[in-house]
């Protein structure tokens, strides 16, 4: 029996499948993440490595990764690669960092306006009540 082991041998692209290749790749990556074969925080293969592994163009893998990122399934950090997102972990941390940054900017504006800490806190509370 012929048995092929390669890093991405399980990801298949069917040319008789009516769906575009990038959707087929997205679905199979999602399945690996759901099955925890690719646990949260795991680094995904680089776009070029996966393209070479699957014999599929770089632009197709790029499209799949971009859409998975929009869905929040993976997180891409510039120069570091793409990772499986973890709502309570990696993705959450990134969101928290973003929140801290915005709060920091708000605090700086409050200082410029000469608002007291209490006044700023009161504004934040009012904003929260509106949401």
């Amino acid at each position: 029996m012929l048995c092929i082991h390669s890093m991405y041998s399980g990801i298949n692209i069917s040319q008789t499948d009516a769906r575009p290749m990038y959707l087929q790749i997205m679905e199979q990556i999602r399945a690996r993440i759901a099955a925890r074969d690719w646990p949260p925080g795991k680094e995904l293969p680089s776009i070029r490595a996966l393209a070479a592994g699957l014999n599929v163009s770089v632009i197709t893998i790029k499209r799949a990764y971009l859409d998975l990122e929009t869905e929040g399934v993976i997180v891409t950090r510039h120069g570091k690669g793409s990772f499986v997102a973890d709502v309570n972990g990696l993705a959450g941390e990134l969101k928290e960092a973003e929140l801290d940054q915005h709060l920091g900017e708000a605090a700086a504006i409050a200082r410029q306006l000469g608002l007291s800490d209490d006044e700023l806190a009161a504004r934040l509370r009012r904003t929260l009540e509106k949401k």
Partner: protein, 295 residues
């Protein structure tokens, strides 16, 4: 700075029975472009112009930043070119050809060449004369690949290969693209291969570029829309329709600019919206352009 691997601008080449006209192409490093066209469309002529083997009658050609054909000697050190017309010396062995390339090109990678001999199921002691058509194609590709050139220009590289050999060869192309400083331009009739591995696709027909675009862009824009009209209903005027076939109440439309807006214009009569594969897009595109040019 000019960092494009290929830049062709408004290139014209006139022959007695054929004119290549207003051909513009661009290829960035790290990309693979599929060059698709019917027989006699001008694919090989375009590739030969890029290699500086013939001179354009008008227009500009730059390859790896070098003006062609003037700077072809310098440019060719970093280009690997393979075409089906290339002949090896019939009595010399594959090993002899490999040594010959090694003596000319300092970048020759002997280890990679030896690995390719194995992967392509070739033998170095085979004389060129004894190679089958498929083996000959693989041998010429090997001689180009093992130089690890920045740019590979391949004229119909998979023609004449059986499905297994085609798979072997395509895997090597994709391996080249692991390096984002390298690029490939290849012409082909095989739209399945082109659809799978290309980042950019250029269609050429009757000496003119029909369209050149990112692959995903092609696949996203083109759709076949099937409509079933009720009795006495008429389709409204629709933009971006390249083909319209009417059969009683049933209408098939092909658009090169699909959007939800277009679907809404047709209204509730749409029964199916289908994606098209590259071959269908290619045929529809070429027919549409021939019609437009005929007018």
């Amino acid at each position: 700075m000019n960092d494009k691997h290929i830049e062709m601008r408004s290139v014209r080449k006139v022959y007695r029975f054929f004119t290549l006209d207003d051909v513009s192409l661009e290829l960035e490093p790290g990309q693979i472009m599929g060059f698709v066209g019917p027989n006699g469309a001008g694919k090989s002529t375009t590739l030969r112009l890029l290699m500086g083997m013939i001179s354009p009658d008008a227009g500009e050609i730059r390859v790896l930043g070098h003006v062609m054909p003037k700077a072809q000697a310098v440019a060719k050190r970093d280009i690997g070119y393979v075409s089906a017309e290339m002949r090896l010396l019939p009595h010399a062995t594959l090993g002899w050809h490999m040594n010959f390339m090694k003596s000319i090109y300092p970048e020759w990678d002997g280890g990679y060449a030896a690995a390719l001999v194995k992967r392509f199921n070739l033998r170095i002691e085979q004389s060129a004369r004894s190679l089958s058509m498929g083996e000959h194609v693989k041998a010429t590709l090997l001689l180009a690949l093992a130089r690890r050139p920045k740019l590979l220009i391949l004229d119909e590289p998979t023609t004449g290969l059986d499905p297994v050999a085609r798979h072997e060869v395509i895997s090597e192309f994709m391996d080249v693209l692991r390096d984002e400083g390298r690029s490939i331009l290849f012409s082909s009739h095989n739209t399945v291969d082109v659809e799978r591995i290309s980042d950019r696709i250029t269609f050429i027909d009757r000496g003119r570029v029909v369209e050149s675009s990112d692959k995903e862009d092609f696949l996203e824009r083109w759709r076949r829309i099937q409509v079933q009209l009720p009795h006495d209903a008429v389709l409204p005027m629709l933009p971006n329709i390249v083909k319209r076939e009417i059969d009683g109440h049933f209408v098939t439309l092909i658009t090169n600019q699909y959007s939800e807006g277009l679907k809404n214009l047709i209204g509730p009569y749409v029964t199916h919206v289908q994606r098209m594969n590259l071959e269908e897009i290619f045929v529809a595109n070429v027919m549409h352009h021939r019609e437009a040019r005929g007018k």
